[in-house]
Symmetry: C2
Subunit: 795 residues, 2 copies
Amino acid sequence: MSDWVWSCEGYDPHAEGLRESLCVVGNGYMATRGAVPESQAGSVHYPGTYVAGVYNRLEDVIEGARITNESLVNLPNWLGLTFRIDGGAWFSLDDVEVLEHRHNLDLRRSVMHRRTRFRDGEGRTTTLTQRRFVSMASAHACALESTLCAEDWAGSLEIRTSLDGTVENAGVERYRQLACDHLDAVGSAELDPETILLEVETNQSRIRVAMAARTSVTRNGSPFRPRRELRERSRWIAHDLALDVEAGDVVTIEKVVTVFTGRDRAISEPAAEATVWIGRLPSFETLLGRHVKAWANLWKRFHFDMTDREETLRTVRLHLAHLLAAVSRNTVDLDVGVPPRGLHGEAYRGHIFWDELFVFPVLNLRIPLVTRSLLRYRYRRLDEARQAARAAGYSGAMYPWQSASDGREESQQLHLNPVSGRWLPDPSSRQHHIGLAIAYNVWQYYEATGDREFLTHYGAEMLAEIARFWSSIASYDHSLDRFVIKGVIGPDEFHSGYPGAEDDGIDNNAYTNIMAVWVLSRAQEALGLLPDQSRAELLDRLEIGSGERDRWDDISRKMVVPFHDGIISQFEGYEQLEALDWERYRERYGNIQRLDRILEGEGDSVTRYQASKQADVLMLFYLLSADELGELLERLGYRLEPDLIPRTIDYYLARTSHGSTLSAVVHAWVLARAHRHRAMDLFVQALDSDVADIQGGTTAEGIHLGAMVGSVDLLLRCFSGAETRGGRLMLNPLWPEELGTFEFAIRYREHLLHLQISGVEVSVRSGAGSHPPIEIACRETVAELWPGSSVEFRL
Amino acid sequence: MSDWVWSCEGYDPHAEGLRESLCVVGNGYMATRGAVPESQAGSVHYPGTYVAGVYNRLEDVIEGARITNESLVNLPNWLGLTFRIDGGAWFSLDDVEVLEHRHNLDLRRSVMHRRTRFRDGEGRTTTLTQRRFVSMASAHACALESTLCAEDWAGSLEIRTSLDGTVENAGVERYRQLACDHLDAVGSAELDPETILLEVETNQSRIRVAMAARTSVTRNGSPFRPRRELRERSRWIAHDLALDVEAGDVVTIEKVVTVFTGRDRAISEPAAEATVWIGRLPSFETLLGRHVKAWANLWKRFHFDMTDREETLRTVRLHLAHLLAAVSRNTVDLDVGVPPRGLHGEAYRGHIFWDELFVFPVLNLRIPLVTRSLLRYRYRRLDEARQAARAAGYSGAMYPWQSASDGREESQQLHLNPVSGRWLPDPSSRQHHIGLAIAYNVWQYYEATGDREFLTHYGAEMLAEIARFWSSIASYDHSLDRFVIKGVIGPDEFHSGYPGAEDDGIDNNAYTNIMAVWVLSRAQEALGLLPDQSRAELLDRLEIGSGERDRWDDISRKMVVPFHDGIISQFEGYEQLEALDWERYRERYGNIQRLDRILEGEGDSVTRYQASKQADVLMLFYLLSADELGELLERLGYRLEPDLIPRTIDYYLARTSHGSTLSAVVHAWVLARAHRHRAMDLFVQALDSDVADIQGGTTAEGIHLGAMVGSVDLLLRCFSGAETRGGRLMLNPLWPEELGTFEFAIRYREHLLHLQISGVEVSVRSGAGSHPPIEIACRETVAELWPGSSVEFRL
């Protein structure tokens, strides 16, 4: 394997997970499902593709044990292509003797290759080779080329090329009892002898989806017109192509497909568009050429290289390819967010959580146009967040922990503990810290781009409304002469409340309180950056008076932060919880990531123990540099003792069950800062979480986009020590000399920068252009960098 | 009337036009129809509102005399509110004696007021007062408050509040034989005793539209729960409210309404959204407060003041209000263009032409966020324009003269001459100069904002593809050693070809050739402005090699421009056409704006004569300053003789029938440059074109948005001599001293500027902020202006 190809050999009908299926091919607009093994599809049919950004949200009622709250909808399956010989059964891998089977994902070109050589029950040997891609160059195009070689037989070959709207969302086993079937039939048609059209409609959100496919055949390299028959059923249409084959004949079937939905821009009606555009799609090869070129340009933006780290590079590229399959230029006009499993996986049913916190840094520093669009997704749901705050008795905007199409809170109200079989109340909507993540993302985007226009029209308003929410939920405690925030849940979901009041939230979660202070300060800073008139308009529109801003300022100086034993307490009273006998539980249960379920199954409660599911206090060290955290604590009148960070890290690492892939990213990050020489090893571990399916099975439900991208980002930002703050790009590299040279590309405030880091030197080169210079700081040195010039720092 | 209120007194059931109907109230997202007189509605029902940006395009087939190509669709009518007394007939203005009738459009607040006092057949006297608005603060909200005073009677009062989806597009008489009915029923429901819901779907584009209304009643100031009955028919739902009234009672009916379509962002399904949001809408007064505040802030951006010119100011404000009713922050997320009659008028059925050329300058210098969105509308249709070029045998992008939802050419292929009754071929799709207008708009946006990000991702690509089209349509003429462009139609639609070949286009239209050179130069300039890597990516993606760019350069130095008798010829051979006996035709026909139809009716052809429908060569003087035009001609090796501009103006003014409202704007502009002391008079004439319905009836079919906004813009830009070119704001004021002081606000490259111009001085003040300084040039002086400072120039 080169550092650009993911490959697997051999056919295992029971294999699951990434290495087997390797289906991560998309273009943002649509993406093929990642993780369902072929055996499940039973033939050369591949799993369906999804409507990007179509969240089909039924009412989140609870009907007995059936939660009918769905949000990702299958696109019709465009990959349907199968065959049979002499009128026998349609091909299935399970019915033949597999002689060779190879699967390659060419990351550089984002093309999936497979080659299967097999012998069927009649002793006939056939080779099937396929190439497919979802075009990065044209949002609406995808293509599949299949080549069949009749090695040692002659006979009649029938090929079935179909579009299938009977797809279900059945990728996650435990959801199969929920509503899985989201498409209604609209119609189908044969557009011409080579072309079929299928139109369906989502059955709740009423979005039409139209797909058209054109299939052409060559035999031994020459165009060939096979006999054709049209087949139609409800939500399904196919062409059956028949031809006679001699031994040694090579038959190539080229299928190009286009898809449109009613949410697309610049269309009349989806079926009308699909009908027009299928006729305009060029050949497989021409489409492929454009697709490869688009990826070549993307890889320049996402350039990354290291001496002698082929495996790491390949994983990094896989992660980036997965990211770009979900969000790219092609999604800029769609109203989509970043679901935890990308657009491929059905786990969490496409709901939006806080994963963008781990994804945006990589985008901000490469294609911020995409981040801008994703932040606009949040902005469009600001009104809904305002309503949520008002309904809960607060001001400003209370963003929902889980959301879907219209941005309202979608967190379940009950959840099932599979260990105990009990349905339990689910208070996870108390995770108001999602708003902190959104505010952080707005600010990071601004720092990376200097986009004052965005800040003026959208960003400052979001920051102000989120700040306002925190101001309204904070209350003044006279006895402390400080502000407190009560009844929330922090990132660590185990502590949903105190023992005996498990669902009422906890008080003064350090992460929440400190980040609330950060947001209150950034909101003020953002308002200060606006032109006078724009600021006045915004404050007038939001009815923010000077009294309110004084209160923000006051809170940002007087928020309480709990400490104990020289470390930051996760929340008020954490130190009074009981110690858990970790060894005993590890011995007894093996995997204790979901310790909460284990304890509940025992009639106990995880809220009684000093035990965390995931990084909570440690998130602070992930989001804020030591300098910035120190400034915030100082502003609050606390002292950042020199050993506070390492002590706090050690303390919580010993008390965490690591029940979240995102947590692994955070832990790798903070550990790398504490143990810099081990950084590479830690990162490689974090990088591998999906590749190795460390959670044992969750990868098959969809790849963890946040963890994937987060791991790439920390590799990048930790080694370069890159920080965008105060209008400067700061570099503080930690690259061990023995690892050779590390190089990568970033975009900072219009500059396309090429960075090279070795143990002794950092060099930064900026491409030519007419944009203004930037400031780069490396440790104590600050340099001004103009387009077309470069700067070196000795370490 | 103050300078903020349009008012009319008295009721004339036959009146048409703007002064009578005064219905121009919208918020971008939806807009009420402008010009249908109330008599047509027959009761207090108002005309319907439109789905902004929903272009319902049927196939542009011609079925006999029935062209079924529609593109604007009515929203259900939300204003339905009528009443009856003691079970009599429902109220109609035609059935009562109107004692007083007053209509006011409060421009400052964008609120429509009416007050009607009448006596019915039973001798009862009643006063009806209404206030209504479509909220600028909340895109989806509108509200109507109706107050009935039973002056001298007692009885049972029934009020009907309805949502009506049976609306038709019947606003233009000659279109009434075309398909007018575009909505299918989906469903209706009573959501609660005060609230009704209606859902319909467009019958071609399949866009759902849902509307909900909540109606509450007070009697003599106290909340009152009337008896209620639900009424439902297909596409129609109403609540009938009944109460008993004493003489002197005052009954107020408050109706708040919300609307969503399937093209909206951040929604689940339109009816689901309408159901949720109608419950959240506050009272009429609260909604009004926010609406007024939003307008107050808009008027600051569009600030405009002149000493003692109340009437002019009022007209300017009316025009601006009409613009902002069509496009605003509320349309930024919609996929909409700028139709000639805004979103109100049905003339041209909502198709998009080149009107944005006259509209964008005003937006660029005030709310460029909106222009950016409108340019993105064009960008999304770039692929369609590429297809059009390819289909016609050209390269690059050939934008369509008329377009609708999906951006393909929608120009009719036949048109009816009502004078002769003949159906004639319509070659208007040869007006490829639309692409020049789009390129011009891209560049002007960039000059006004300095938005390199837009240029990088969208603008440069549009410029390059449009340039490429002109390069491919231009051919090299060896005998001339110059490039020529043949077979096009320029802005003057009379000259669709040469005599005897009326539909084949003309050669070397000076406007087209010179602007093509301008575009080829700007495309190179834009590419030069991109960062190296971005430029390389774009050129790679578009497959533009250096040979192609060399050809652009070559053409931009060697394009032919026809001249005769010391003036620029409209096209090759214009001087050989016959002179028209204008006096004879004016005497015979009176209005000869549509001279083409008159001549065709006589068996003659307008193509034989030196007669133009509208500005063509003169458009050059409108779009380019004399300096810029001189530079272009010099680059081409021509000399701009000092008297060429005035001679050319005089020549064409004598040969133009003024058959376009846009042309009036252009002529006022060029005349003002030639006859500066008459400038104000000319502008006031241009300003009044809709207010006075100078075309005699076309205003009733929809107000001419381009002409309205264009007239404001030329008032502004001509008096200030403002030009944004080469990264500078250039001012060259022509303000006659006797007119006092002229002041206005503009936004230039993040600076919010306040300008004051008198006969002797210009002062420019920039609001405070953190953005970089700008350069301002006034005649020979150049000054650098920082945020928070000001500069004065003595004239």
